[in-house]
Amino acid sequence: MSQLQPTVGDVEIVPLSVAAASGPSRRRLPGWLSLLLANPKSRVGLGLVGFMVIVALISPLISVSHPTDFNLLAARQAPSWHHLFGTTDQGSDIFSQVVLGARRSLILGAASALLATVLATVLGILAAYSGGIIDEVVNFLTNVFLVIPTIPLLIVISSYLKARGMTTMILVLGLTLWSFEARILRGQALSLKNRDFVQAAKVAGESTWRIVFGELMPNMISRIAAAFVLVFYVALLVDAGLEFLGLGDNTHVSWGMTLYWAQTNSAVLQGEWWPFFFPGLALVLTVVGLVFLLAGIDEVSNPRLRNLRRSK
C-alpha cells in the first residue's frame, strides 16, 4: 500500500469549503461539488461512481429476474438480448446479479470506509493534538494494525466466523483498514496544531474538544474525504477478493460471489468468459471511478498540483 504514504505531512491544503466560497460561481450546487466537477479527473470519477450508485438504487427495477433463480434449461448462455450479460451454470441471469450486487458492494464499501474514517479521524487528530500518553497509545495501536497484513488477517478472521453477514464484514474491514488513514491524518494534524490559529484558540479559552473538532478538523475535510474514498475502494477490492476465495457470505448476491461461483464451476475451462467479465468490469469501473475521484480531490485541495496543471 505504498501509494498511501506520500501525502503524509503535506499541509498545503485549501479547505474545499473556502476555495468554493471564493469562487465566482453562484450556482445552486454545493460549493465542494461544483469545485469537484470543475476538475476533469474528479468529474470522470464522480460520473463513474454516480452511475454505479444509480444502478444500485434502481437495481430492483432493472433486474430481469431474481438473481438466484435457477433455470437449468437456460444455463451457460452467452450474452444475448434476453440475457444481456449471459447466464451462470445454474441458469441465473448475470445482469441481474451484477446490478443487484452493486448495491451490496457499494453499501459494504461505503460503510466500512465510514467506520474506518471515523475511527482514524478521531484517533488521529486527538492523538496529534493531545500528545503525551494518548499519542503514545494511539501510535502503538496504529503501528500494530499497520504491520498486521490485512488480507491474511481477514482470511483468518472470516474463516473462523460462523456468521459472515454484511455487518460482520463491515466491522472486520472497518476495524482493520483505519490504521493507515489514522497515520496520515495524525501527520497532518501534527503540522496544523503548531499553527498559530490553534494557539490563538487556546488563548481565547477554547476547550480541547472544540479545538480538535471545531478548529482543526474543518481544515482537514479534504484529506478526510480523500481518506474515505481510499478506504472505500480498498474495502471493495478486499471484499471481492475474500468472496472470490469463498470467504464471503454465500447467501447473498455480490460481484465477488458471482466471480466465486464462476471459478468454482470452472466457467473459463468451458470457454465461458461472461461470468468473469461483467462483474469484473463493474468492479474495475467502480474502483477506477474512486481512484479518479481521489486524484481529483488531491488536485483540488493541493494548490501546487493545481498550478502544475494550469501551467501545462
Binding site: V14, P15, S17, V18, A21, S22, R195, D196, F197, Q199, A200, A201, K202, V203, A204, G205, E206, S207, E215, P218, N219, I221
Partner: protein, 312 residues
Amino acid sequence: MHAADDVTFVLRPGTITALVGESGSGKSTVARLLARLYQPTAGQVLFDGVDVAGARRRRDLLRYRSQVQMIFQDPFGSLNPVKTIRHHLARPLRIHGRVERGGVEARVQELLETVGLVPAEKYAAKFPHELSGGQRQRVAIARALAVEPAVLVADEPTSMLDVSIRVGILNLMLDLKERERLAFLYVTHDLASARYVADTVLVMYAGQIVEQGAAEQVLQRPLHPYTQLLLASVPDPAVTERAPITARKGLAAAAVDPPPGCRFVERCPLRIPVCSERTPELVEASPGQSARCHVTAPSPARREDLHVEHVQ
C-alpha cells in the same frame, strides 16, 4: 532548559512596555509564558497582586485568559482559514459570556470598527484569505480585545507586515493604550518601533533582561554594551557617519546551562576579568534605568572594589 531566566518586570495600565532582543533571546518565550501557552517552571506571575502562574483549573485559566490576551506574529497563521472573521470574534465573546446572546453580532461589528475595519458587516462575513496582512492583524487585535482584557501581549505584531502597513498597527496600539487603558507588552526586535510606541523598554539577551528603563533613556543613553551594539547596528539614515562596530565575534552564550559570569562576555568590548566569574545583577545605575553590567552599572559592593583598586 531555561529559555528565559529570572525575568522580572511590571506592566501598568495605559503603558506600552517593549521587550526587545534578537531571535533566541527568549523574548517570545516570555510572551508565551504570559499568555499561558507554556507553564513557567519557577516563579510567579502576579495579576493584581494574585499569583496566577499555578492556575490549572479550567475556571481559573479562563478567568486569567479573560484578562490577558495575545496577538501573534504571523497574521496568516493566527486566523483559522476555514472560519469567517465573525467566527473569530464571536467565539471569545461566547466563551467568556461577555455579551448577551442577542448582542454578539452588534459587539462583533463594534470590535471591527474599533480596529478600523469598516464597513464592519462586510468584513465580518469574509474569510481570512480575502484580507490583506494588515487587515488580518487588525482582526487578530479585535479578537484579543473581544474579552476586554487588561493586558495585551503582542509578539512581533508587525514583523510579517509590509513596511507601509506597520505604522498603522503601531498607531492602533497607541490609540488602544490611550482609549482602553491597556497594558501592552510589545515584543519586538525592531528598536525604532519600540522607541515609537513604548514607554518602557526591556532589553533581553540570552534569556536575561540586561537593561531596562524609560524608553527614551535606554535608547538614547544605553548603559549595557549589548544595547549599545544593537543600537549601532540598526540602519538609520539619519546617522551619516558611523563608527565601525567594535563587537567581538562570538556566539551568544547558550541559554541552556549557562556558565557563570556575564552572558555577553564573549562579545563584549568592555569586559574585565570579573565578567567571566560573576553574573552581574540588574543594578539601577541612574534614576529609572538599570543594567546588568559590571562595568557600566556596577553594584554598590562592586563600586567599592573598583574604588579600592583605583586608590591603590
